[in-house]
């Protein structure tokens, strides 16, 4: 359904735009119908940038994003509006997504004005009712209220209801539960999983590994704009091969096991992309390997549905 082919995003930074920041580097993956993919990365990994590019909020610098075969960068005007009928997004901060001086259900009104201008009032109200119930909200509790009168969890579900009004096929969920309380997180998460079973595809962007495991079939591990490892969730989580993925699995605080002694190099500073593997400087196993410093490793399929981008692994020198 959605496909990224060698997508990159480069920003010019520094005085007079002299330097380049590679937010996203040559990323390729695809998402099928009714599939949930977790895009996992820390801050600076480019995961949000990818989400925004898919939502046409930021243009890609190179590469193509295709939705059902159509290159989305070609869409303008009405065609773009049609795209938004199928693809929507929900962001991290529920309170920032609403214009604070208006009531929350204004977001519904905007959808009506833009997409359903001729719909009769009663039919529209019924539609809203259905959407709200589908996300587990009581219409009486949440309609006609200001954003600050609702909780974070309610606001996020409200946004999902908004997306559902359009009958979307694809949802970009960018860290949508990280600002929610623990007890409401799981409700929103379950909601996403329910919607998936009804045919919705989701790109679930997160930094939290356990969340990714809970709802996705496949996972993509990003580091500084490059894919390090990707494939079926079980394979990544229980047989991580890339040094970065291994570090993530070991360092993320989990409730099922305690941290082991991990070698964390705190002194390493981040530098510009000079051509080699992006993880080279912090990689515990790269050492002084010239190959790692020089070549950008390609994603290789090491077993069915398990891809890794590591030069050492490729050469068979990874312990």
């Amino acid at each position: 359904m959605l496909r990224l082919d060698n997508v990159s995003k480069v920003y010019r930074i520094g005085t007079f735009g002299g330097k380049e920041l590679h937010a996203v580097s040559d990323v390729s993956f695809d998402i099928g119908d009714g599939e949930v993919i977790s895009l996992i990365g820390e801050s600076g990994s480019g995961k949000s940038t990818i989400g925004k590019m898919i939502l046409r909020l930021i243009p890609e610098s190179s590469g193509t994003i295709t939705f059902n075969g159509v290159d989305i960068s070609t869409l303008e005007g009405d065609a773009l509006k049609e795209y938004y009928r199928k693809v929507q997004g929900v962001f991290q901060d529920p309170f920032s997504s609403y214009n604070p001086i208006f009531k929350a259900d204004r977001v519904f009104r905007i959808i009506r004005e833009e997409f359903f201008p001729k719909i009769p009032g009663a039919e529209w109200n019924a539609k809203i009712d259905r959407s709200l119930k589908a996300v587990g909200l009581n219409p009486g509790d949440v309609l006609d209220k200001f954003p600050h009168q609702l909780s974070g969890g309610q606001l996020q579900r409200f946004l999902i209801a908004r997306a559902l009004l359009l009958d979307i096929e694809f949802l970009v969920a960018d860290e949508i539960i990280s600002m929610l309380d623990a007890s409401t997180r799981i409700d929103v998460l379950n909601l996403l999983a329910d919607l998936k079973s009804r045919g919705l595809s989701v790109l679930f962007i997160t930094h939290d590994l356990s969340l990714g495991y809970y709802i996705s079939e496949r996972a993509v591990i990003l580091y500084r704009g490059c894919i390090m490892e990707m494939g079926a969730t079980e394979k990544i989580y229980f047989n991580p091969l890339h040094p970065y993925t291994r570090m993530l699995m070991a360092s993320v605080p989990r409730l099922d096991k305690k941290w082991e002694e991990a070698e964390v190099d705190l002194k390493a500073k981040q530098s510009q992309l000079t051509g080699g593997c992006v993880y080279y400087e912090r990689c515990p196993v790269a050492g002084k390997d010239a190959g790692c410093a020089r070549d950008r490793p390609a994603l290789i399929e090491v077993e069915p549905d398990h891809f890794v981008a590591c030069s050492k692994l490729q050469r068979g020198t990874l312990e």
Partner: protein, 320 residues
């Protein structure tokens, strides 16, 4: 006993009245104990942490008693607390990175801080350097401006500064939230190391991330709507909690190895009460699956077994 509080009650003054943010907190922390303070937003954990060290308006001290190492802490008196702050009790605040004055070099800031506490910089410098080594910060850091450091480095710097005078109690307020995963682990483990090396005697680690507490805390205290719900050793809280809220909370946390398709987790329906006019009795009773008549009365925070405190009538019943 390192820290002991009795019925600590702190409200927030607002235009619409007092928000009862912290009500009747009574607990103890032993020497060398790292206690995690967990709960959702609005539960009062930040209020508790801050009221112990810096009770400023709009916070208002209502009643209670706090003792640190058998000496009373005058938490309601900002001036008298000056003698304790930084030397006996210290805090690493949330967004500690922003606690560093951007226009001052770090070394200058440190010497100003020490001077204000009438501590000789020269005498402390070697120890400062040793601690910088411990957290893997180069000594050059003292000559740099905060903007030259990364988030993790600033966090570690603030930790070193806050513990420089070996306080008895350190309050760490959400210090890992804004960090990368690997730095998070390093910083959290650093906390433990500080305790092991006796730079700090005991700690209160405030966070909403219970999995971090599982990794480093000796005990966990769970708060709900301004009151204490449960306190016990980490293992007990995670694996055999007794308070209904704790139970529901722990079971709603996704763990690696648990998939939606295999086991569907559930959250806690409803919302926490507004603390402007909280319900009488147990504040969790509206959402509690096992609430009964007695819950209209506020349950006391009582030790039901060795080192395990709970505020729940149902659990008292079971114990009796």
């Amino acid at each position: 006993m390192s820290l002991q509080t009795e019925n600590l009650t702190v409200y927030y003054q607002t235009l619409r009245g007092d928000v009862k943010a912290l009500d009747g907190a009574t607990f103890t922390i032993a020497d060398g104990e790292i206690m995690g303070l967990a709960g959702e937003s609005g539960c009062g954990k930040t209020t508790l942490g801050h009221s112990l060290i810096r009770l400023t308006p709009p916070m208002r001290f209502v009643e209670g008693r706090v003792t640190l190492d058998d000496e009373e802490l005058p938490v309601w008196d900002m001036e008298k607390m000056n003698g304790f702050r930084f030397k006996r009790i210290s805090i690493v605040p949330q967004c500690a990175m922003n606690a560093l004055n951007p226009t001052r070099k770090i070394g200058k800031m440190t010497s100003e801080l020490l001077e204000s506490r009438k501590v000789s910089i020269r005498a402390t410098l070697p120890e400062l350097k040793r601690r910088l080594d411990l957290v893997e910060l180069s000594h050059d850091v003292l000559d740099m401006y905060p903007i030259e450091l990364s988030g993790g480095m600033k966090q570690r710097m603030v930790m070193v500064l806050s513990t420089l005078l070996n306080p008895s109690l350190l309050i760490a307020d959400e210090i890992t939230s804004a960090l990368d995963v690997s730095t998070q682990q390093a910083v959290a483990e650093m906390l433990v190391e500080f305790r092991d090396r006796e730079f700090v005697k005991s700690m209160i680690v405030i966070t909403h991330d219970i999995s971090i507490l599982y990794q480093i805390a000796d005990s966990i205290m769970v708060m709900y709507a301004g009151q204490l719900a449960e306190k016990a050793s980490t293992d007990v809280i995670i694996h055999s909690p007794r308070h209904p809220y704790t139970r529901l909370l722990i079971s709603s946390l996704p763990k690696v190895g648990v998939k939606y398709s295999e086991k569907r987790l559930t959250g806690i329906p409803g919302k926490p009460p507004l603390l402007l006019d909280p319900p009488t009795g147990c504040r969790f009773r509206e959402r509690c699956p096992v609430a009964f008549g007695k819950c209209q009365e506020e349950p006391p925070f009582v030790e039901i077994e060795q080192g395990h405190f709970v505020a729940c009538w149902k659990e008292f019943e079971r114990n009796a």
